[in-house]
Symmetry: C2
Subunit: 337 residues, 2 copies
Amino acid sequence: MTANRPTIHDVASRAGVSKSLVSLALRGSPKVSEASRAVILQAAAELGYRPNAAARSLADRRSRTIGVLILDLHNPVFAEILDGVQTQVRREGFSTMLVSGGADPVLEQAEIDTLLQFQVEGLILISHRLAPAALRSISSEVPTVVVTRDDITAPRLDTVSNDDIAGAGLAVDHLVSLGHLQIACLTGGDNPVSHARERGYREAMARHGLTSHTHIVPGGLTDTAGYAAAAEALESSPTALFVANDIAALGAIAAIQDAGLIVPDDISVVGYDGIAIGGLRSVNLTTVVQPLAELGHLAAEHLVARIEHPQSRARHTRVESRLTVRGTTTRAVPVSR
Amino acid sequence: MTANRPTIHDVASRAGVSKSLVSLALRGSPKVSEASRAVILQAAAELGYRPNAAARSLADRRSRTIGVLILDLHNPVFAEILDGVQTQVRREGFSTMLVSGGADPVLEQAEIDTLLQFQVEGLILISHRLAPAALRSISSEVPTVVVTRDDITAPRLDTVSNDDIAGAGLAVDHLVSLGHLQIACLTGGDNPVSHARERGYREAMARHGLTSHTHIVPGGLTDTAGYAAAAEALESSPTALFVANDIAALGAIAAIQDAGLIVPDDISVVGYDGIAIGGLRSVNLTTVVQPLAELGHLAAEHLVARIEHPQSRARHTRVESRLTVRGTTTRAVPVSR
DNA sequence: CACGATCGTTGGAACGTTCCAAAGAAAGGG
DNA sequence: CCCTTTCTTTGGAACGTTCCAACGATCGTG
């Protein structure tokens, strides 16, 4: 193509100094005289010089780059966490390489290998599907922080997540305070997060002396899974539903409406996550919102700390979720049955 | 930290051969004898050797990496395009560096500079807010493809987008075929995409001899903008609304419901984009869907082609959007007014 | 006014690869 | 059997940077 990219040598010869001095000047060293600095900056600007990150990382033996694996780009939960990660990582002076393995352990491992080839200095996993052994091996090789999950531990592996058990408790507390007794739980299927939320529901019901009303319907984390689970749940006439996540909650609401019932008048619904769509006026979902951007921030902070002190002991940070009451919950009507 | 990463030298000495042969063997050259290959692969595996991408890119003078700028991570439209980009880029044997400038021209430029420092071989801009001059300067320096916009052109700048004018036409055609005459258009504000969709609406209305019914209400691309615009539009009693995008359409629907009217019985609504949420059962939005993943695929293909032939002339690819009829549109009721 | 300090500057080595020319070994042909 | 040819292997240079030891000036200082 057109001329080759200018190198530090080109800048040096144009400025009439040595490459070493250019290197110093460009990185703002105080040992460079004002005169030289001006000439060099000028020459660099004229040539449109841009340092070569590969060469730099090779000479420096550090890349100033962090690798991020995201479980699923479509899922707004992860996208929002990613956003928090990005801004904080940038602020700490690192760049980011993003990959996604589409929730497939094999692909995820391959993508992480690619990241490691680029000598990333650390890894943030915005959820993952890796086997415990794989994750341990990765985290022993490079500073790693897992967001959203805290079920796998390793000596130097940090985690950042919300307290799903407590969060589910908030949802149940809210429904109970509105007078609901027949509160069903639509689970999110077989994954650590959903298990925790289910357990939170169960414990909260027990706490309120409602163990006998506990009703758990197996579901999933998608719209259609929520629809199906809700359809099944309706057979036992609950007055409220706690659903494992917001997307499934939306499916559940559709099922309720299709059954000719009205949300929240006939049935109240609470979701989990606090994705943006839930806040749209036409949706207006009551939900347990996780501070997603904050999860991302914290992950980045932890990672940078671990890069600086690789041997520090594992930190497991829990952020607090809170209930946002919107339009899908209301007082239970006294059953006249 | 623990021991340093093994290099090609370590592999070489463990295998008892020269570094050059290791390099050859690892890249699968046919000139390596079976015996040596086996020994080398074995040694590499034992050491957990992983090639250093920085060194490779330096020696190779190519990075096999593509930079991607995304306008907004939260927006599902862009996320889905990104997904299409990622899979195709990977398939072509490249890695990806993702950045986002949060729709801020200054930040976007800074992020692109970072990408260029990493010697990315090409750039995919999933929309952007760059000034024409900035974009031209970038595209003259490195192969570049812009997705979603085709309003700025440059000699070697490819674009991939959908035909917003034709797409808007589909929406209007559909509404007209259902007997609607009072079709209002809620615009998406002051940006190239929204302008095109508005123009498509206008032209289609004219084509159907409905110029006198043309009613344009300025809006925006967000939920709340859609709500406000719809509230205003309702004053002139339309029977159908064409809204600039899906998110705003959801806001519009909320406004209609808040006014005590029913979608679609009283008012039909058509959106644009085809984001996943629109397909959820409780939303069920009729919309013009763009093949988002395909946009991403094409962008990646074009970019790779341009990397191979930098001087080829600019390509402007248009993909076809199609109407997906769901639950928010129905026949117009004869006005009894 | 010679003499360490200090300051600004420099060339060369290093980082971990790939490429290239050339060397060595094995094999085939006369 | 010696001489090509072919196959396999090798050391060294290069890529663009940073670091380091050392350099010549400039400078007070005794």
